[in-house]
Subunit: 301 residues, 2 copies
């Protein structure tokens, strides 16, 4: 019923791999190819057999939209470049304090080149942002708490890995309620490194200084890796003059699988927007969905 | 920051009363007046002192949008009439099987007259529909269960009241999980009526025949009335190739307060759409919200 759109996946780490899986089950999209760094492009993993692999999106044919599965810091640059070729982009840029500025910058570029960007399309920012916003118009007075976890925090893990004497590290986020979190930090030390010194540095790091943090030495961090994650968003608020309206959204999910599925839904939505850059709260929900409009309304509204 | 829009409330039952309360706390809207039936228009309740009361929307000045707080069956007719005057409408039309057709019919009228309708704007249909749709694009494979209650069902209560010998009745919806519901029916009989006969008729009614139903005789139904309601929407699904993604949205709310608050948010959104009729899944979430666009993105995404 819909045209089949050709989508490129840029980057083939965790998110890229899951994005290919999500594209494979989307009836209205097909994988145009995967863009990888030159040194990775030669080792083709079995699941990409027959898929065009390139080191630049220019080498792939007929790409209409690109899913950016690159490290978050590099995303705005990739997006700027690809949008200026008239190709839509979606990303899961996750730095909350900066995403509004990134959107504005990409909005200019996209409008000049007739392309569409959907930015910060993951689960937080992303679908959580959509529900957080809904809860505010459902009960405009009150407080929302976003409780993350249990699950691995990439940002916190990277901060620990940067400390001298750390061979590998993993930081787990544990929700304590009302938006307060405990950090469980698992550290594998380099030979000869002193764990107590590492521990002190973790506890003094800006990433951890405000949270209850436990630092634990382990022999093999990789044994602890589980990409499951979760969230509980709670709001107690006021609708009109009526207090004590209670809301809770909870999920327990495979983190990269959900992020990638949302990116694929956002790629679909790019084809339904006017040129410009959008966050998910600026796009009608139905545009993220596959299927006939009237049928979707009949089945889901 | 925004223009203050003039909004009429049509109908002054439960929803109309709460809609006035919700309008009172909306900084970007003001109450243009309340439309009531001729025989009610003379008895002005204290909370409407100073508010223009009319028996037709034509008597009110400068109305830009109307909140239809009329019985659901009469809503499409009111909407058609008011849209054809170039005034936007919002309603909480709640007959799931028919709302897609109502939308299409109103879409024609609205487009011809440059007005905007947002239909079925409540919590189910409404905000539940939005979350139901989101869960489908987050995990396209799987099943969603919508569990209602505990709370009063208007449709079921009205069905019981229509039975001979019933003076007053209330049907409570009790969620048993996986979308299965129990009906607790409280009946106040008319003098001389036989409760057992009434009970048999309730159990044979199409509204109840498929559900576990308990019919209980009481002396005074009004003592049982509590407009609290709730929902739990659960989905277990597949993102890409990853199974066991778990989602749950729960709320415990005052039913007319939430419905009316959503209607007011929808009234706000009418001013941001092109002429036509929309369900809530067709409108960007940000359009339902009060505030500066950039600030909302910074704070909520």
């Amino acid at each position: 019923m819909n045209k089949v759109h050709k989508i490129a996946v840029v980057g083939y780490g965790n998110i890229g791999k899951y994005a290919v899986q999500a594209l494979n089950r989307a009836p209205d999209m097909e994988l145009a190819g995967v863009v990888r760094r030159a040194r990775s492009a030669r080792d083709v993993p079995p699941e990409l057999a027959g898929v065009p692999i390139a080191t630049s999106i220019d080498e792939l044919e007929g790409v209409e939209a690109a899913i950016l599965a690159t490290p978050t810091r590099t995303t705005p640059e990739y997006a700027s470049d690809i949008l200026s070729k008239g190709i839509h982009t979606v990303d899961s840029y996750d730095i909350h304090g900066e995403l509004a500025d990134v959107r504005r910058k990409l909005d200019d570029i996209a409008k000049r080149h007739g392309s569409v960007a959907i930015v910060s399309a993951g689960w937080d920012p992303g679908t959580d942002s959509m529900i957080r916003s809904m809860l505010e118009f459902m009960a405009p007075g009150g407080v929302t708490y976003t409780n993350f976890g249990p699950g691995m925090s990439m940002g916190h893990s990277v901060a620990v890995k940067a400390i001298d004497g750390v061979k590998d590290a993993l930081s787990m986020t544990i929700p304590l309620g009302t938006g307060v979190h405990r950090r469980m930090v698992y550290v594998e030390c380099e030979a000869g490194a002193d764990f107590e010194t590492v521990k002190e540095k973790v506890l003094a790091d800006p990433y951890f200084v405000n949270d209850e943090t436990h630092v634990i030495q382990v022999d093999d961090v990789q044994q602890l890796v589980d990409v499951g994650h979760g969230v509980s968003m709670e709001r107690k608020g006021v609708s009109g003059a009526t207090h004590n309206q209670l809301f809770n959204f909870e999920m327990r999910i495979n983190n990269p699988a959900l992020t990638s599925q949302v990116l694929v839904a956002a790629a679909r939505a790019t084809f339904k927007q006017q040129p410009g850059a959008y966050t998910m709260i600026e796009v009608p929900i139905i545009d993220f969905m596959y299927g006939d409009r009237e049928e979707l309304i009949k089945r889901l509204v």
